[in-house]
Amino acid sequence: MSLPRPPKKNPILRTRAPTTPPGGRSRVALGLTTAAALGRLELQVCRDCGTVQYPPREACHACLSERLRWTAQDGAGELIADTVLTHSNDLYFRERLPWRLGMVRLDAGPSVVAHVHGDVGDAPARVRVGARLDRAGQAVLVAFPEQETKDMADDRQLREMTCDPQYRKVLVTDGKTPTGQAVVRALVDAGADLVWVGHAEPWKQYAGFDAIAGLHAVTPVPLDLTDSRAVSSLAAQIGGKVDIVVNTAEHHRTFGIGDRRGLDAARAEMDINYFGLLRLAQDFGPALKARAADGDTGACAWVNVLSVYALANFPAHGTFSASKAAAYSLAQCLRAEMRASGVRVVNVFPGPVDDEWNQLVPPPKLAPSALASAIVKALRDGVEDVFPGEVAQDWLARWRDDPKALERELSL
């Protein structure tokens, strides 16, 4: 059933404090979260006997081998029992009752307890199990209908695990870049209620900005992430209404250490990419955290457009890489500080975007519109780490396999 537009909030009612579901996991169980953060369902598979197992354990429950590998699963299975929870002593769930749960026997072998989507029929029923991050940021399993249903994303339980921009108010920090403009358009198309679009240095003209500023849902706001007072001032004006922050502001130059004398380019990169995020987080973070349980469209997400160069330095864009690595580290801190509220921090790691400062980078390059689509999809799917495009996927695979080898490959 499609989600009706939520009523306007009565401004004198108390905003309830956010709660989160139980977040404790063993280290081995975090393997499920690692995959879910990327939007994948992975289970342990024994390399000796081939058993797929759940819940995660230190050893194979069939043959006691410790040679277990996290392996992608399609999640196909059958709902063999389901129930609706009407009572819970857990603070998070008791505010969200009733809550549907079930037992699914996966075709791959194990049976799992899962949250059950409202469009799944009564047991027995064919389902597809996926992994999602809950408000505590931990992986949980969700049983979806086998076939896509209309407005599947609007399921009440599922929305607890996602950050759909529909009906939400979003701040995009820089609307002057091709990426910023593509993100604004994608958010408007996704049904965002209001998109504030930051623009620095208003006297500089950038192609496309006026067209963005003219969209019905869009309100341009002056915002320069290098200007602490400007960030504070904007937070004072709109901070209490922003549900999603998408930080698209970026300074990008194409220098390493030796091909640019002085610090000016590197400092400008740090000032926006790193300190800019810090300024933004200090001023907008508290209000977002406080509004994480503010109804159906409360504050829910913070998106950082980082770079795959944050994982390993791309020497041709060396100082930019360093600034993005700093931003990535800070984004981890932000994620930790947001965790208790349930506000999701989404880090996006694109490869080279097809824009001005990647002029000399050979294709494939990521179209700004593809980056924007990936951001909206990440919000809808509730994933935490996004590597859009083939370059980013390739780097991610190489980095996960052997970060040292990637460093050497990039230094050639």
Binding site: W203, K204, Q205, T226, S228, R229, A230, D264
Partner: protein, 261 residues
């Protein structure tokens, strides 16, 4: 004699028969800075960060750190700023003789012309016509080009960019040469973001006020305000830049002293 003069001066200030006019724009993050192509090094805009505000970072006091370039806000240009003045003696803000920081000012009103044409260029005939009304520009005087550009409080209008770049008034090359060679001015001041016109790159030489004025060891003042409060002649300008070692310029407080008649 000097003691009497200074005593009279102090008395005139105290009694208000000398009026002090602030020719300075407020240093604010919102004030625009000079814009260069992005591949060049950039002058920092004014930025300010709170150190403490009677809070846990400093319970009894309020203060800030600020950052900016040498050429941010209302600022002074030293001869060393331009390549034409790089080898002159005493060409940096720390070595310029301090007596050069106080001097008479001739204010040439171009406000009507600038209102009609953002690319207005001050010319020799225009200055000669001004001299016919107000007398010859004395040696070692500041020449200040009043355009009322400082009244453009909207940064977009102040910068005035379009697809062909910036459009702000300034001097042409001949008048700069004339002021240096025929009138021996100490410097040239404007209200817009540079001493040269927005389209000054297309003049010969490019940026003539920077090139010729600094090449002759003279100074520049830009982003001035309140020039409309000055008489055409008779004001004395106090414009002392910060003493930055080998500094090419500096933000500064520019004050004008005007006799009330």
């Amino acid at each position: 004699m000097s003691q009497d003069t200074l005593a009279a001066f102090a008395n005139a200030l105290a009694t208000g028969s000398i009026r002090v006019v602030d020719l300075t724009q407020t240093l604010s993050p919102a004030f625009p800075q000079i814009t260069l192509p992005p591949e060049f090094g950039q002058c920092w805009p004014f930025r300010i960060e709170e150190v403490s505000h009677y809070d846990e970072r400093g319970p009894g006091w309020y203060w800030n750190n600020f950052s900016c370039g040498e050429h941010t806000g209302t600022h002074f240009d030293a001869p060393i700023h331009w390549v034409s003045g790089r080898h002159l003696p005493n060409n940096a803000v720390d070595t310029i003789p301090v007596e050069h920081f106080i001097g008479p000012a001739c204010v040439i009103d171009c406000s009507k012309e600038a209102a009609a044409d953002a690319d207005f260029l001050l010319t020799v005939p225009f200055v000669e016509a001004w001299e016919a009304r107000h007398g010859r520009i004395p040696p070692r005087a500041w020449v200040l080009m009043r355009t009322d550009w400082s009244k453009r409080t909207d940064p977009v209008a102040y910068q005035n960019f379009d697809a062909t770049g910036q459009h702000t008034p300034g001097p042409d090359a001949d008048v700069v040469r004339f002021l240096v060679e025929q009138r021996d001015v100490i410097g040239f001041g404007t209200e817009a973001i540079g001493t040269d016109a927005g389209q000054g790159y297309h003049l010969r030489p490019p940026y003539p006020c920077h090139s010729i004025m600094h090449g002759a060891g003279r100074y520049g003042l830009q982003c001035l305000a309140n020039l409309d409060q000055l008489p055409p002649t008779g004001a004395v300008i106090f414009a002392a830049p910060l003493k930055i070692e080998q500094g090419s310029g500096s933000p500064l407080r520019v004050l004008a002293m005007v006799s009330e008649r």
